[in-house]
Amino acid sequence: MKRSKTMELGVGLFMLAGILGLLFLALRVSGLSLEPPADDFRLEANFANIGGLKSRARVTMAGVTVGRVESVELDPEWYDARVVLTLDDELEASLPEDTTAAILTSGLLGEQYVGLSVGGAPEMLADGDRIRDTQSALVLEELIQQFVSNMAKE
């Protein structure tokens, strides 16, 4: 085997390139984070209608992503949707108690996400608390229905 050294180098580079590519796919494309999952800061919020919100959707504040939707399930007590939000732990104990959560849509056809806006109450939300003031998703069919029934009244 004459060109064994160059061959080994070539194969080594090839495998290295493969591993780097996988790293690129993990970090840049799928947005996986190498940092250990920060200490969870969970909030609950009940919505009358979540539209098309799914788990893993973004939670934003002033447009900046501050967390993700962890789970969406039906609350059998009130028959509304209970959404668990996981937020950056640096926000823990710095969100006022009257913070509101709304389900918004990015663009006309984009995905739905949760937008938080801050209130002014002196008490702060702690881990596991519930956001009381929520605003449901905009459902296009309901809007059209309203519009049509208003038209009929006139």
Partner: protein, 260 residues
């Protein structure tokens, strides 16, 4: 009438026998403790099967990514949703195109060469001579080639995906003017590591096993004539391509079809 049924039966027996032989070959060659010498042989095959296939795979990946960017843009811009270009390019590449197209190219580029090489060894009775001097051709010839294929194709698939996503960015962002932040941002929001990247890799690992196995077996079991080599090489490409496309449907149904 009886003759037809008999021919059908003989055909069935042949197919079953072939499958059994192929499985035996896979079990006897692929499973075993690797030696230093085996590692060196594997490295040599990795060079031939992997590094030498890199160029065709990367160039195809770049063009497929660019086409996806172009087609996706013209499709999405009608709905004002060109921000979703990133996720469309990334998801279609990672879930489908990278594993399948890389496997098809691999079957054509490396699989046919493996069949022809082993077939010629058999036709010139090199395999028999090896047995005569006490070297097991399954361990010496077949095993390094199988393992090189198993490792090389997933790596090639990763390269295909990465360069395709870059090609999509090249066309979508740099040329057609999709905002760069939404290209990557939408992609990261919708692509999951375990759901999409790992499932795509599992797919390509399955394809790697199937394609290399078919290629090596066709070479190992062919009729040792020049015509036999020609037929076996064609059969490798045809069987491997059909197996990849058929398995792709099954795997997609299992992974993304909502069956669980």
């Amino acid at each position: 009438m009886m003759a037809t049924i008999q021919r059908l039966g003989r055909r069935g027996c042949d197919v079953t026998e072939g499958l059994g032989r192929a499985t035996l070959m896979l079990a006897q060659s692929a499973i075993g403790v690797p030696s230093v010498e085996g590692l060196r042989l594997w490295l040599r095959q990795m060079h031939f099967v992997g590094v030498m296939s890199l160029a065709i795979v990367l160039v195809s990946g770049l063009f497929i990514g660019m086409v996806l960017g172009l087609q996706g843009y013209t499709l999405l811009v009608d709905f004002g949703a060109e921000e979703a270009l990133g996720q469309m390019v990334a998801l279609s590449l990672l879930r489908e195109l990278a594993p399948v197209v890389a496997a098809l190219l691999f079957a054509g580029r490396a699989g046919s060469a493996l069949t022809a090489e082993i077939g010629l060894m058999k036709a010139t009775e090199q395999l028999t001579s090896m047995e005569m001097i006490g070297v097991d051709p399954l361990r010496r010839i077949v095993a390094p080639r199988l393992w090189a294929g198993f490792v090389a194709l997933p790596l090639l698939t990763i390269g295909f995906g990465v360069i395709g996503i870059w090609g999509g960015e090249l066309v979508g962002v740099k040329w057609l003017g999709v905002f760069e932040g939404s290209y990557w941002g939408n992609m990261q929001a919708s692509v999951g590591f375990a759901d999409d990247v790992l499932n795509g890799l599992i797919k390509s690992l399955v394809f790697a096993v199937v394609v290399t196995w078919i290629a090596v077996y066709q070479g190992y079991a062919l009729l040792p004539t020049s015509e036999g080599i020609a037929r076996a090489t064609t059969r490798t490409v045809v069987h491997a391509s059909l197996a990849v496309l058929g398995l792709d449907f099954v795997l997609t149904a299992l992974m993304f079809g909502g069956l669980s």
